[in-house]
């Protein structure tokens, strides 16, 4: 049972400030002081906002608006009955001038369905109604208010907050993540310093919903001001522990932070709730307080605009959907300071480079980073791996990146999975330390993508096979059914002939005789040629024997 600390052990160690540690980790230069000195600024409104209709992990929603609609700030643009869907809202007032594809805030830069709003500059908000006495409200009302406000994890993954909060499993620790371990980023730091009280309100609401035994607010020790303000904001709550965590990347990873605080490990195929923990980002808590107390939807977030190619690095309140170019313009971005144009969305360790400056800020965007020429130099071509295992020493999940690299590169995906490829959290610590400058994470991502695609193909093939076989079977059974019908019909005829005995035979003979008579009559011009029966019988003459039989049968029935 080593490693799974009981609630009391955790509490005891928390109270004396003795935390655990996670293996590996790196200490890149922080550079947070570039942007964390000044208060979060409000920017002038952009001309357009581009709101992607899906900004979370889960299911797409349906559009509520059409081209040409006027929308107000906070008005929902999408809705869905599905619990895994999260709506998006207009982040300012204006006219919907396009609904279509726009480059997405995604590493690929591929287009995604996006609502373009041409702002009218008035920033008029829709009327809102908060639940000020949330303690008296039902849990269902609070959860749906969180969902309707469009809140999904602001820390990076974008998991729907209302789903996380709607847990029925017992929770020991509600963990509030104020770690912000990525270098450069100071959005959460500034938010905690300036809005500690509102974050505290958000925590209170989540506490009311989840009813944990304890709340742990974890902040890295490189943010003493945030630690102080949060401690003051939470001082009346004896169940809240504000904890200073030693600075080490990636201490802010969900699983790593849980390990640091409780020494518990989230099962590889499980969720934090399985070990009695739930985690929220401080930004999410802030948004929850807005949603419940004021009824406001999530339409803006704090974004750090930094890097040494930015002359005025700062934190700003960015409306969801604001194009990155607007933030750069308003922070004095100097492209001439860059060796080549390069903008990173997110931090230097896990962020992705943008393909277009028109890409919008989304709910999970915490940083726009514009490095100068000598800053964050792009690596040269990789050299051969010398198996020095610096990567293994840096890996926070105790993988063997050197082996994963070997098998991923060789496309030996079965073995790569044996080495737990899918437990990689893509934190980039391995590639950061690699002396051969191998883009390790990139190899893992490609391998994971290939494996997923292969699985998908396999599933599709299986589905196609089943459908093909089902169709073959159907065609076969249809054919059989047809044959069976013919067989039965033939049988019935024979039976009819036999059961009626000579009578039927007589009838046939009589019919034949009649036919003969008609035929001979036809040959005689005096006979009435418009006689219906005659023409029918004449036709019968031309029919094939089997059809004659069926025609005969019809006659027999008429009898």
């Amino acid at each position: 049972m080593k490693g799974f600390a009981s609630f009391d052990t955790v509490l005891e160690r928390l109270s004396v400030g003795r935390l655990w540690d996670f293996p590996g980790g790196v200490h890149p230069a922080q550079e947070k002081s570039l942007s964390n000195k000044e208060v979060i600024k409000n920017l002038p409104l952009p001309e357009y906002v581009y709101v992607p209709i899906k900004q979370h992990i889960g299911i797409d929603s349906e559009l509520l608006v059409t081209l040409g609609d006027k929308v107000l700030k906070g008005q929902a643009l999408t809705a869905s009955e599905n619990p895994y869907a999260v709506p998006v809202h207009a982040s300012s007032s204006g006219l919907i001038t396009a609904i279509g594809e726009h480059p997405a805030a995604h590493p690929s830069g591929l287009p995604e369905m996006t609502v373009t709003i041409t702002l009218d500059g008035k920033d008029d908000a829709i009327a809102t109604q908060g639940i000020s006495q949330y303690k008296e409200a039902s849990k269902h009302d609070i959860i749906s208010a969180i969902c309707n406000a469009g809140i999904s994890g602001l820390g990076g993954a974008g998991f729907p907050t209302h789903i996380k909060s709607n847990t029925i499993k017992p929770v020991e620790f509600l963990i509030i993540n104020g770690i912000e371990c990525e270098p450069y980023i100071s959005a959460d730091d500034r938010l905690m310093r300036e809005h500690a009280w509102q974050i505290r309100q958000g925590i209170d609401i989540l506490h009311h919903l989840i009813k944990p035994k304890r709340v742990i607010i974890a902040i890295e020790d490189n943010k003493p001001e945030a630690l102080e303000t949060m401690s003051i904001a939470c001082q009346q709550q004896s169940e809240y522990h504000v904890v200073s965590v030693p600075t080490k990347y990636p201490a802010g990873g969900e699983r790593q932070l849980i390990q640091v605080l409780t020494s518990r490990e989230v099962p590889s195929d499980g969720l934090p709730i399985d070990i009695g923990c739930v985690m929220y980002n401080v930004g999410t808590c802030f948004a929850v307080a807005d949603a419940i107390i004021e009824g406001k939807a999530l339409t803006q977030r704090v974004v750090t605009v930094t890097g040494k190619a930015i002359d005025k690095p700062q934190n700003v309140w960015a409306k969801i959907g604001t194009p990155v170019s607007h933030l750069l313009e308003n922070s004095a971005f100097d492209v001439n300071k860059q060796a080549y144009p390069r903008i990173i969305m997110g931090g230097p360790m896990m962020g992705f480079t943008l393909a277009s400056a028109k890409i919008p800020i989304v709910k999970i965007t915490n940083c726009i980073l514009a490095p100068a020429a000598k800053e964050l130099p792009s690596v040269e071509d990789e050299r051969g791996c010398i198996r020095c295992s610096a990567c293994a020493d840096a890996c926070p999940v105790s993988l063997l990146p050197q082996q994963l690299f070997w098998y991923s590169k060789a496309k030996d995906y079965d073995v790569a999975q044996e080495y737990d490829l899918f437990d990689c959290i893509e934190c980039g610590a391995c590639a950061y330390v690699c002396p051969s400058e191998i883009p390790l994470v990139h190899y893992y991502r490609q391998a994971k993508g290939d494996i997923r695609a292969q699985l998908h193909e396999k599933e599709q093939a299986e589905k196609a096979r089943i459908r093909f076989e089902a169709r073959q079977q159907r065609l076969e059974s249809e054919k059989q059914a047809r044959e069976e019908k013919h067989r039965l019909a033939a049988q019935a005829r024979t039976k009819a002939l036999n059961s009626n005995g000579g009578g039927a035979k007589d009838k046939i003979a009589a019919a034949l005789a009649r036919a003969k008579a008609k035929k001979s009559a036809q040959l005689q011009p005096s006979e009435d040629s418009v006689n219906d029966g005659a023409s029918v019988n004449a036709n019968k003459e031309k029919l094939s024997p089997s059809e004659t039989a069926s025609a005969t049968k019809a006659e027999a029935k008429n009898d």
């Binding site: 049972m1 990076g156 990525e182 009695g276 080549y340 144009p341 010398i386 198996r387 080495y419």
Partner: protein, 370 residues
């Protein structure tokens, strides 16, 4: 119109590349080389120069043939380091062609033919050493006594003359140079003890010789200590992990302790094994070659311990006085197996029984506030 460039994260990289790592190892070897030069004469430096030139030239030529980026490969200093390790392992006055053949073999055959840096199965320097030892046993064991014990004062010119012609400028042969003041031929401490044991002496009698000073080989022990300092610096600078040196030295001392407890008279003490011969330089500089060693930390403990074990076994019962090269090459073969069985436990895979709630039978979570 400028375009944004895209790349995969991380965009941050620490500035220690392969070249820097290899350079640090070279720097760390400097104290050892200095002491070795002081103790055994300029031959060490001459061999070093020959080895480095051969190594780099061989590497460049082969990379040109393989149409690889020569400049980048040379800048990783791996060839230089390989030549260095081989040069400090051979007798300082060995003929020039010994080191040239050995280095060429190391780089061309053991390293490049296997695919270059990172793909070699064996430690190039040690495989080269083994090849030399088997092919040219006489030249490879002709160690001169430490400078303080020789009669002839071999200057730098004499050294170069000897390495290239076999005789000093004044006409002495290596065999003559090996003689000490009293005319007895001198061998390395390990050689000496081995010979003494085979002649029926016991350890304490063997140690009663002027090449020993309290069971430490004169000249040899200080070299070992100098390399120890360099090695500790390497651990401190996180160039190498402690696992291999520690487990190798502890295992070697443990095995020799058991043997010497069993029979003091025919088995030398752990201390003797530690300070004489190449155990320390081997533990810190040779067995730690990352490419051919085990790549997991647990595996490194096994790898190092088994090398230590083989060193004592071969020193005790083998035909050669020292064993680092054989032990390392032998264990290189076992590395894939060691690696396979010493995978570290991945996060989230060890606590199947510890879950307080039943794990949801669900998909891998991508959820997480960063």
């Amino acid at each position: 119109m400028t375009k944004l460039q895209v790349a995969s994260s991380p965009h941050h990289h620490n500035q220690r590349d392969t070249g820097a790592v290899m350079r640090l190892v070279v720097y760390a070897a400097i104290p050892g080389i200095a002491v070795q030069t002081y103790m055994f004469g300029y031959g060490v430096l001459v061999q070093l120069a020959l080895a480095v030139v051969t190594a780099v030239v061989t590497e460049v030529v082969i990379l040109e043939i393989r149409k690889k980026n020569t400049e980048r490969a040379v800048k990783d200093y791996s060839a230089l380091l390989c030549g260095l390790l081989l040069a400090i392992s051979i007798p300082p006055l060995a003929p020039w062609w010994i080191i040239v053949i050995g280095t060429f073999f190391s780089i061309a055959i053991v390293k490049q033919l296997y695919g270059g840096l990172g793909f070699n199965l064996f430690n190039p320097a040690m495989a080269g050493y083994v090849m030399l030892l088997i092919s040219f046993p006489v030249q490879m064991t002709a160690w001169l006594p430490p400078v303080s014990l020789t009669i002839q004062n071999v200057g730098i010119w004499d050294t170069i003359h000897t390495i290239f012609t076999g005789y000093t400028a004044t006409g002495f042969s290596i065999a003559q140079l090996q003689a000490t003041v009293d005319g007895a031929t001198m061998a390395t401490p390990l050689d000496h003890i081995k010979t003494a044991l085979s002649e029926g002496y016991i350890i304490s009698e063997g140690l009663n010789n002027k090449i020993f000073n309290a069971s430490m080989g004169v000249g040899w022990a200080p070299v070992s200590f100098a390399y120890l300092i360099g090695g500790l610096v390497l651990i401190k600078a996180k160039v190498i992990n402690w696992h291999i040196p520690a487990s190798m030295i502890i295992a070697a001392m443990a095995v020799s302790a058991v043997l010497s407890i069993y029979d003091m008279s025919t088995h030398a003490s752990p201390w003797f094994h530690l300070v004489n011969g190449s155990l320390i330089v081997g533990a810190f500089f040779i067995a730690t070659d990352p490419v051919s060693a085990s790549t997991t930390n647990r595996g490194r403990i096994v790898f190092g311990a088994l090398i230590g074990f083989w060193i004592i076994v071969i020193r005790t019962w083998g035909g050669y006085p020292d064993a680092i090269a054989f032990a390392v090459v032998l264990m290189n073969l076992a590395v894939p197996l060691i690696d396979y069985y010493t995978k570290p436990g991945t996060y989230g895979h060890q606590n199947k029984v510890r879950n307080m709630a039943k794990p949801s039978p669900a998909k891998k979570s991508q959820q997480g506030d960063k």
